[in-house]
């Protein structure tokens, strides 16, 4: 159920004041997650309030860009015509930002080479005004 009128191979997010730092940080090579200056907690998806202490002193902050695969699936279904399959959809738990998990794709390795617990590193892919944080396996 693609549900988007797009010519891109990926439906892209609409940028707004909450999500712009996340989706454009890749231009500077930074993965930016909302961080609280008061309690040090991380809030994702980004919102103008800390989900741990309700402080409004939250702002995007660069994290290391590494993480661990929490779980994944190999998608075989073409959800819209022309979609290239198979590919890996994964949840990546970010290093240095406890509790933050990103849905993403693992690229740069055969789909069968991906496993839970694999260490991965962000690799941004530019699509117009959006830099998608994809991940590839980190060298062992």
């Amino acid at each position: 159920m693609a549900g988007y009128n797009t010519s891109s191979s990926r439906p892209l997010p609409r940028l707004d004041s909450d999500n712009r730092a996340f989706w454009t940080g890749g231009e500077a090579g930074e993965l930016r997650i909302h961080h609280c200056a008061d309690c040090g907690g991380w809030t994702h998806p980004p919102k103008p309030v800390c989900r741990h202490c309700l402080s409004e002193h939250v702002a995007p902050k660069a994290v290391s860009g590494t993480g661990v695969i929490d779980t994944y699936t190999i998608n075989h279904q073409k959800w819209f015509p022309g979609m290239e399959v198979p590919f890996v959809i994964a949840r990546v738990a970010l290093d240095g930002a406890p509790g933050v998990i990103l849905t993403t794709n693992i690229v740069g390795s055969p789909v069968e080479a991906v496993d839970i617990g694999d260490k991965v590193r962000v690799k941004f892919e530019a699509h117009g005004d959006v830099w998608l944080p994809l991940f590839e396996k980190a060298a062992a």
């Binding site: 159920m1 693609a2 549900g3 988007y4 009128n5 797009t6 191979s9 990926r10 439906p11 892209l12 997010p13 609409r14 999500n19 994702h44 998806p45 929490d70 779980t71 994944y72 699936t73 190999i74 998608n75 075989h76 279904q77 959800w79 819209f80 979609m83 590919f87 959809i89 994964a90 949840r91 509790g99 933050v100 998990i101 990103l102 849905t103 993403t104 794709n105 496993d115 839970i116 699509h127 959006v130 998608l132 994809l134």
Partner: protein
């Protein structure tokens, strides 16, 4: 004053099919009439309406009829009504109705879920999906990665079971195989063709480990349950089924931030609100929009330990009609059609009344079931109902 208990009186269901041409409001009226007839109630006695997820204009097939429309169409004099998607999954609409009758806000509430997804796909000019050019809201966190279906989100939880607990395809197959076997005994089931293990294993993969037969198919149907107040049962002709306990929960709605699906918390909570135990359950009707969600519900409700669901359903004998936990006896959504949550409660009530015909569960000594559990929701939303024939 004695607290008012909530009961389910009449239940009803329209024709269930794919690409039906009957108007979705008329399907809803069909189900309402059947439920009213079973309860021996007239529309004049109905004073409440509850539905999930309310009318969704952007996706008319997903929810073509709202509470507003039904109230108006049937001339219902409602003292309470509700309809919306921000609730603990489909059967949350029944929980809301039960809370309303317990509070004295209404006496007989029509709860309904009408789906028209197959017809809408077939007739897009009449039922157009409103598409944007960009992803917004929670969708933006999946769509750019082409994680475009709940199949891909659910598959990731399933994969964790595969890797962590050794869940096999042969084990998971038992949900689909059991559903399809039971659907053969349900005259209203949408898919009435047998499925073999070989057929299951040969099916194309959708999102590993979920194959085609692990995913429900769009259907067109309406399901109705009437929730009645305990002090209004003298107006009801059928055997009332008591809502003995209810539970629900919501996890992080972006799906990916949640450690586990919401059913695990809901299952635990249900048993805190009753003296019944999992061993008392005579039949379980558990959400299976994707097969793995059903397996997760079996674990969540304590029928086995977390991680043991695969072993529990292995071979299918425990969940067969004559097994220790007769499961999804109407065929579930994988066999009976994507009734979207309400089918599970409809079947639980039908079984408790002994009205299930060829698929009727008989417990030791030939008795009809006395205790049933119905559950809806997968991912971040979950609702469970414990239903009893007192």
């Amino acid at each position: 004053m004695k607290p008012i208990e909530a009961y389910i009186s009449g239940v009803g269901q329209s024709e269930v099919g794919m690409r039906l041409t009957r108007h979705p409001l008329l399907l809803t009226v069909d189900a309402v009439k059947e439920a009213l007839a079973e309860a021996g109630l007239s529309i004049a006695q109905i004073d409440g309406v509850s539905t999930y997820p309310g009318k969704v204009p952007a996706m008319p097939g997903f929810s073509p009829v709202g509470a507003d429309e039904l109230v108006d169409a049937l001339g219902i004099r409602a003292t309470w009504y509700a309809g919306g998607g921000e609730i603990t999954s489909q059967l949350g609409a029944v929980v809301a109705a039960a809370a309303a009758v317990r509070a004295g806000l209404a006496r007989h509430v029509i709860c309904f879920r009408t789906v028209y997804e197959a017809a809408a796909v077939a007739r897009p000019d009449e039922y157009p999906v409103q598409r944007g050019d960009r992803a917004t809201g929670n969708s933006q966190w999946f769509s750019p990665f082409n994680a475009l279906s709940a199949a891909t989100w659910t598959a990731q939880y399933a994969m964790r079971h595969v890797k962590k607990y050794g869940l096999t395809r042969e084990q998971l197959a038992q949900i689909a195989l059991t559903d399809r076997k039971h659907a053969l005994l349900n005259p209203r089931a949408m898919i009435r063709e047998p499925l073999t293990m070989d057929g299951y294993l040969a099916a194309r993969m959708i999102s590993d480990p979920l194959c085609l037969f692990d995913c429900d198919r769009f259907s067109d149907a309406s399901t109705v349950l009437i929730v009645s107040a305990g002090d209004a049962l003298d107006e009801v002709q059928c055997t009332p089924v008591r809502i003995a306990a209810m539970a629900g929960s919501v996890e992080r709605l972006s799906w990916d931030q949640a450690e586990w699906m919401a059913c695990y918390a809901t299952g635990r909570d249900l048993w805190k609100r009753t003296d019944y135990k999992p061993a008392d359950v005579d039949t379980a009707q558990l959400y299976d929009g994707f097969s793995f969600q059903c397996l997760a519900w079996i674990e969540s409700l304590g029928f086995c330990d977390v991680g043991e669901g695969g072993k529990f359903i292995e071979g299918g004998t425990r969940i067969a009609l004559d097994g220790e936990l007769p499961l999804n006896t109407f065929g579930g959504q994988l066999g009976a059609g994507r009734l979207h949550g309400f089918g599970f409660a409809h079947e639980a009530v039908t079984q408790l009344r002994g009205n299930a015909g060829e698929r009727q569960v008989r417990r030791a000594g030939g008795r009809a079931p006395r205790v049933a559990v119905a559950a809806s929701g997968g991912g971040p939303l979950a609702t469970a109902l414990l239903l009893t024939r007192d």
